[in-house]
């Protein structure tokens, strides 16, 4: 089953009399385990597309189906529940909770969903951190971690609820090329291992070879998918 199915999605903002089209009839499908790189300059609409796919924004027109559920008409409360249970986010600035340890930053997903951070949740957090090579860092605060380690914790947080779709917003922008490549390799292996679909927003063409498909976006319009050159 297609994990992300966006059809003819438009997003229009109004500024006084003016209409600003941020996304113009965008259609995109992402299959299980597929990694799509969304490439485009600043202001091209890639963040808008990512936000709509993740239930952070609602489209003006068109349909968005994630994991078989049409979220286009969801209420804010339903979108909150959707984001909590069905989608993972990795943000550009990492944005870990600064006073929580690496393990607790994963457990926060459980806690905001009403969980008690019990034994099963802790085991899941440790297992994820272990798989991400952070078994020895579970009790460290974000300030005690390197940039790459923080990004790996953020990836663990995104995967904690075992979502069908993970959305990455410029995951390597704060990292140097070498570290960026390591993180992208890790993302690819983790997504493939879990058959988790992912969309990675980037403007860094050096990282696109980790994706299965590259989609360019300019002025809110999606281009034809391009094959990835190794």
């Amino acid at each position: 089953m297609t994990v992300l199915d966006m059809r003819d999605v438009r997003k229009v903002y109004r500024s006084g009399e003016e209409e600003i089209v941020a996304l113009d009839h965008a259609t995109l499908q992402v299959e299980p385990g597929e990694i799509v790189a969304l490439l485009g300059p600043s202001g091209s609409g890639k963040t808008t597309l990512l936000s709509i796919a993740g239930g952070l924004l609602t489209p003006t027109e068109g349909s968005v189906v994630v994991g078989g559920t049409d979220i286009s008409g969801h209420s804010p409360r339903e979108l909150t529940e959707f984001r909590r249970s069905s989608v993972g986010f990795v943000f550009q600035s990492v944005n870990l909770v600064p006073f929580l340890t690496a393990e607790e930053n994963l457990l926060v997903v459980d806690e905001i969903g009403g969980g008690r951070g019990g034994k099963a949740a802790k085991e899941r957090a440790r297992q994820l951190l272990g798989e991400l090579g952070l078994a020895h860092r579970t009790r460290n605060l974000p300030s005690q971690l390197s940039g790459g380690e923080r990004q790996r914790v953020a990836i663990g947080r995104a995967l904690f609820n075992n979502p069908a779709l993970v959305l990455f917003d410029e995951p390597t922008s704060a990292l140097d090329t070498s570290l960026g490549e390591q993180v992208m390799a890790l993302i690819r292996s983790e997504m493939k291992a879990r058959s988790t679909a992912s969309v990675i927003v980037t403007h860094d063409t050096r990282m696109t070879h980790f994706a299965d498909r590259v989609v360019r976006i300019v002025d809110g319009r999606l281009g034809t998918p391009e094959p990835v050159s190794a």
Binding site: S51, T80, R83, R84, F91, Q92, R116
Partner: protein
């Protein structure tokens, strides 16, 4: 419980962030307890002798404007009161405020010599002529059982035969005596306000279903009868003191509300990016706001404990003649007042939390 975990962890791991608010609230707690303690001390010290009356009505003469010192009840009016349906007992009551020489002590102790017939709560039957049962605060002035106090300019002797608690009158230690002793002391020391053999200042009336209005009707308007509560507030200055202190206490609670409101508003502004991320990963407005309320409550509880300890320390250093009395009720009402003010103060952040856009977490590099 999970809603409490995140905010409490922040409180535990970043205590310095909350230090300023905790310190300010601690001092405000001390101030509130201090003000409340003064109010209670003044109220209890002024009204004990009246609160202790086991009465359905206290009867003054109609021209006295509910003042013991101005009131005079003659024998004929007393008979009328005793004849009111339902009246089971009526006893005379009279006060005279004087200075007393306590053996072995320098200076004069302020006392209220109170003549009575019907024993107030905790006070035994009227003692023999020339002896009295003193309010326990007279011990602070050096008095003891067996001491003979010389009362007033006429040096009227009263031997102390025992002590009772919480029966002070207008911040003076009451000495409970028979009506005969009271009249003797009154007439010897206040000849300008001498009372006759059958005259008392007021009547304490007990009965089944007796109302103050029925008594006043039976005496044809010669009396002004009050319930015990009304008689307490008719004492000079009591209502004004309570009103003044309560105004200050309520104003202080408004300051508490403002401090908590301002502090958590600033904290919320600092956390806007974090709230955006938490909302993006599925935290609801309710959960984020609950976290603020939990932190405000925790800060208030900690500040209350510190403030109460400071209040105890400050009170221990006060001279004994400061009428400050901290009751368990005052501790409880101060705590509840602080908690309500803090929760209301933290609610100021609610609008700001609800306006955080989860989409703000995407596409920002800060």
């Amino acid at each position: 419980m999970s809603a409490f975990r995140l905010p409490l962890r922040e409180l535990r791991r970043r205590p310095s962030r909350f230090a300023v608010a905790t310190i300010v609230l601690s001092f405000l707690t001390t101030l509130l307890l201090f003000l409340g303690g003064l109010l209670d001390g003044l109220f209890l010290g002024s009204t004990g002798a009246i609160r202790a009356q086991q009465a359905d009505a206290i009867v003054f003469s109609s021209t006295a404007r509910d003042s013991f010192l101005r009131s005079r009840i003659e024998a004929d009016v007393r008979s009328q009161v005793e004849g009111v349906d339902g009246v089971e007992a009526a006893g005379g009551l009279g006060f005279v405020l004087l200075g007393a020489v306590v053996p072995g002590s320098d200076g004069l102790a302020d006392v209220a010599v109170a003549g009575y017939e019907l024993p107030p709560a905790g006070v035994p039957a009227p003692p023999a002529v020339g002896s009295g049962i003193a309010d326990s605060r007279l011990r602070d002035a050096g008095a003891d059982v067996g001491d003979t106090l010389l009362v007033g300019p006429a040096q009227s002797p009263i031997e102390i035969t025992g002590f009772v608690d919480d029966t002070a009158y207008l911040l003076q230690s009451t000495i409970w005596v028979s009506l005969e002793t009271w009249r003797a002391v009154q007439n010897a020391n206040r000849p300008d306000a001498a009372v006759g053999v059958d005259v008392v200042q007021a009547l304490v009336v007990q009965g089944d279903g007796v109302s103050p209005d029925a008594i006043d009707a039976a005496t044809g308007g010669a009396t002004s009868s009050l319930s015990v509560d009304d008689a307490v507030y008719a004492l000079p200055g009591v209502r004004q003191q309570e009103s003044t202190f309560n105004q200050i206490i309520y104003s202080t609670l408004v300051v508490v509300l403002s401090v908590v409101g301002l502090f958590f508003s600033l904290l919320t502004i600092e956390r806007l990016a974090l709230y955006g991320v938490l909302k993006a990963i599925g935290a609801s407005d309710r959960r984020l706001f609950a976290g603020i309320v939990v932190q405000a409550t925790a800060v208030t509880v900690i500040a209350y404990v510190i403030g109460a300890a400071l209040a105890f320390g400050a009170i221990a250093g006060l001279p004994p003649d400061v009428p400050l009395q901290l009751t368990s009720g005052r501790f409880a009402s101060t705590f509840i007042g602080l908690l309500v003010a803090s929760v209301l103060g933290s609610a100021i952040s609610l609008r700001r939390v609800t306006r955080v856009d989860p989409a703000s977490a995407i596409g920002t590099a800060s």
